[in-house]
Amino acid sequence: MPRRRLARLLLMVRFCFIHPPRHYPAQRDHIVNPAKIVLSRQALNPALIARLKQLAGTSIRNCMQCGKCSAGCPMAGFMEHPPSRTLRLLQLGQNIQVLAGRSIWHCASCETCTTRCPNGVDPAAIMDALRKLWWDEQGRSEEKEVQLASRLFLDNIRRYGRQHEMRLGALFNLQSGKLFKDLALGPKLMARGKLKLTQEKNRNLAEIEQIFARIEQMRQKGKTP
């Protein structure tokens, strides 16, 4: 068999096995129940609570575990830990588990939780803070693709000044190995002039690059959280 056809066949095979067909409605992966949490002054990790307060402007101590956030969260069904349980784990110092998990990456930033929390906790901001903590460390994580999408998005801004949607989609497909994702959509969008193949770079791209660079420097010097 010609090499190209074989390669394509292998790719399709890989696609079918490694990326199972989407089903509807979507399912939760698994419920995590730690058998035992051992607590101590150190294990409770008060420094983490302080850091989250600094980053998110909200204290997780205020969470009384009422569950209203999880009730209204559109993505709770896609998370192993709905928002109230993530906050609970953090209250018990279990940040390693939280940061390595996929739940924080499945938050849609819809702000429903923050809008309805009776005690003034801002779970949406906590989610941002947790993702940022992971982003700075780039440690272990069960999720890869949502981070990939974010990275490509920011990369585009650095490269062009504005989003290059075509590049975003194409690179995502390539780097996630989901080569055939939304393939049918491409031509439909192009026909309607909604998919630009090229993207002009901003005239002030140098200034934009400086913004990214300065923030990196500030972070290295510890001048910013």
């Binding site: 419920i31 009384m64 575990q65 009422c66 569950g67 209203k68 956030c69 999880s70 009730a71 209204g72 969260c73 709770a76 069904g77 830990h81 709905p82 109230s84 349980r85 429903t112 309805r116 929390c117 009776p118 005690n119 003034g120």
Partner: protein, 665 residues
């Protein structure tokens, strides 16, 4: 020459740990005018007080400074000891070297120096102190009870049974308050009306109680033991003396579709009506706003059919002035409304629950009316929208309560119990129905309370779900409840037929203006403030006014009755006296110096300043001066600070004394 005695207390270790009390006593002994100074371990104890009394006699003391804790703790103790020793009690002062010194500083040297300064100041003050005598005021032996719910009824009966006259003023046409609206009460599930109506009838029949219903307190003047209360009896349009309570007027009234507030607008009433069948008094009220006669001059049926001729369209509001010695405030509560609030309100409504626009989303009191045998559905549980029997009923706890973001931080105390009760009432009436309760905690601490709640869960099969509800929305005839169960970490969705919200208990509308009329304090939620959270739960800071029931804070019936009887006991203490003694630390005007500018009157928070006419021998008014009523004056000193001519001063806090204290340092 002054002969002051200084007693420095160790207060166990409380003071002596930080302050060198021996040094303070030694330094005090050297002050001019101090004839005796010593330190002692516990001045407030029996031997301590004996020490004080002995020293007064032995050293011929004419003034005392006890350097110890806060005067709020033991000023009374030591003043009594001084009195027993033969000294005018107001020549005894306390130097606070505990709360103001040893408890707030750590450095021993600095704290000791400060304690010495404090003692020095107090010695200077006592040197300039005047002998003062307690003020006596007369007592009117009549009590006023504002509010005719269970709290007001209980207080009134207790005071009246003790032999004193009581005036009870109730705003609604009938006694009963919220308890009359209830179906069954926890934890025993007895019928609310059955246990209450005998008490209501007792009030109406009691020879010592004057009952004004459909009346409000218009104005309050005066002070403890001597209040002048104006009561506005609103025009019922029915002569109470002639009316026999036959009910023909209500039956014949052509206006039948006025929403009845007693039935939470689920049931209707006529324009001339009694709010419920067991009303006391059983005298109807004519709602002039909704009456055809008053709106257009036509009808007049009720007057025509009234046998005794009791209907009187010409009746006017009546203002009655009652002399009163003590007042019990028992005005009760209202339930929080989830509707939209104005932008500047400190409360927020519940948009996520529909802002009150969904007809089958009701509150606890409305559910009570549904369950009540004398209610709009005769005790059958029915959906307000279409009258069908609901098979899936969802109860949501903590709506408004414990929600800082909605404006209410407190817990409303009664909802966990009444919701458990509602699930049981529902199950008793709809055997194939299911009750669900979304809750955060089950606060059931009273006697037999937790057992009651467990019965709801274990025997009556209510499904308790630990989690809150994010939103409610209509789906066809159902209401979709989007909630969560925190214990399993899942979202929970229920298509309910009826949703009952346990809304927060709040102070009634108008609670703040009544408090201002009475001159009592209230908190940011408009609940009335007790004088001391633990030790004075039924008294106000304003003397002569007492609190009973939910107007002071959310509480259930047993607590309300207990508090009502406690308030009554306080009233009886007051009324048992022929005269009242009050501390003489009040302001006094030097009439010869007063220019009658009345700046003091403007700033006095107690309204204690009056105009006094000085007359000559012929009775002609020569001058007008300010006069402080010693019975009302609260001793705050604002007048003294305001008076431009230094004419009014507070006994015990004269300018002379204060300046002496400052100059002594």
């Amino acid at each position: 020459m002054a002969r002051i005695g200084v007693f420095v207390c160790h207060c166990g270790e409380n003071i002596s740990r930080t302050v060198d009390v021996e040094q303070v006593a030694a330094a005090a002994a050297k002050l001019p005018g101090v004839a005796f100074a010593t330190d002692y371990k516990y001045m407030c104890s029996d031997p301590g007080q004996s020490l004080l009394k002995k020293a007064v006699a032995e050293h011929d003391l004419d003034g005392i400074v006890v350097a110890a804790c806060s005067p709020r703790m033991h000023e009374k103790t030591f003043r009594n000891a001084a009195k027993v020793a033969g000294l005018n009690p107001y020549l005894c002062e306390m130097a606070n070297i505990r709360e103001h010194c040893s408890w707030v500083h750590e450095d021993r040297a600095e704290a000791t120096a400060k304690a010495r300064d404090i003692v020095q100041m107090m010695v200077a003050r006592v040197k300039k102190a005047n002998k003062l005598a307690d003020i006596t005021v007369p007592v009117t032996k009549r009590a006023l009870v504002i509010g005719g719910g269970i709290a007001g009824i209980q207080s009134a009966l207790d005071i009246a049974d003790a032999g004193h006259q009581v005036v009870l003023v109730e705003r609604e046409p009938s006694l009963g308050g919220h308890m009359a609206m209830l179906s069954e009460t926890f934890p025993t599930l007895d019928c609310s009306q059955c246990i209450m109506t005998p008490k209501m009838v007792d009030v109406a029949n009691h020879p010592n109680i004057t009952l004004y219903t459909y009346a409000e307190v218009e104005n309050v003047e005066g002070y403890i033991g001597n209040f002048q209360v104006t009561v506005r009896k609103k025009a019922r349009s029915v002569d109470e003396d002639k009316c026999t309570g036959c009910g023909v007027c209500s039956a014949k009234c052509p206006q039948k579709k006025i929403p009845n507030a007693f039935d939470r607008d689920l049931g209707m009433r006529s324009a001339i009506y009694t709010p419920f069948p067991q009303a006391v008094p059983n005298t109807p009220v004519l709602d002039r706003e909704n009456c055809t006669w008053f709106k257009s001059g036509k009808c007049g049926v009720c007057k025509k059919v009234c046998g005794p001729g009791a209907v009187d369209y010409e009746q006017q509001d009546e203002l009655i002035v009652e002399p009163i010695g003590a007042i019990v405030v028992a005005t009760g509560f209202k339930l929080y409304d989830i509707g939209r609030k104005p932008e500047d309100s400190s409360y927020k409504g519940y948009g996520e629950y529909g802002y009150g626009t969904i007809p089958d989303v009701i509150d606890g009191l409305t559910f009570e009316r549904l369950a009540s045998a004398s209610g709009p559905t005769g005790g059958a549980i029915r959906r307000p929208s279409d009258g069908k029997e609901p098979k899936e009923v969802v109860f949501i706890q903590c709506v408004g309560s414990r929600a800082r973001e909605k404006g209410i931080s407190y817990c409303s105390k009664i909802c966990c119990m009444y919701t458990a009760k509602h699930t049981m009432l529902y199950k008793h009436k709809v055997h194939d129905g299911q009750a669900y309760v979304f809750f955060m905690d089950a606060r059931t601490p009273g006697k037999n309370y937790d057992e009651f709640w467990r019965r709801a869960v274990e025997e009556e099969e209510a499904a308790y779900i630990r989690g809150m509800v994010s939103r409610l929305y209509r789906k066809g005839e159902k209401i979709v409840v989007v909630g969560s169960d925190v214990l399993t970490g899942s979202q929970v969705e229920i298509e309910a037929d009826l949703v009952v919200l346990a809304t927060a208990v709040q102070a009634r509308d108008g609670a703040d203006s009544l408090a201002q009329k009475l001159g009592i304090s209230y908190d940011k939620y408009n609940f009335y403030s007790e004088a001391h959270a633990k030790l004075k739960p039924v008294e106000c800071a304003t003397a002569g006014i007492y609190l009973a029931g939910a107007c002071q804070g959310p509480k259930d019936i047993p607590e309300t009755v207990a508090q009502a009887s406690a308030a009554a006991a306080k009233v009886m203490t007051l009324l048992s006296k022929q005269q009242l003694e009050r501390e003489p630390l009040v302001a006094r005007v030097r009439e010869s110096n007063c220019t009658a500018c009345f700046a003091c009157k403007k700033v006095c928070p107690y309204g204690a300043v009056e105009a006094k006419e000085i007359r000559d021998r012929q009775g002609k008014v020569v001058r007008v001066v300010a006069h402080v009523n010693p019975g009302v004056c609260g001793g705050c000193g604002t007048c003294q600070a305001t008076c431009p001519s230094k004419t009014v001063e507070l006994d015990g806090y004269t300018d002379e004394q204060i300046i002496a204290m400052i100059e002594s340092l």
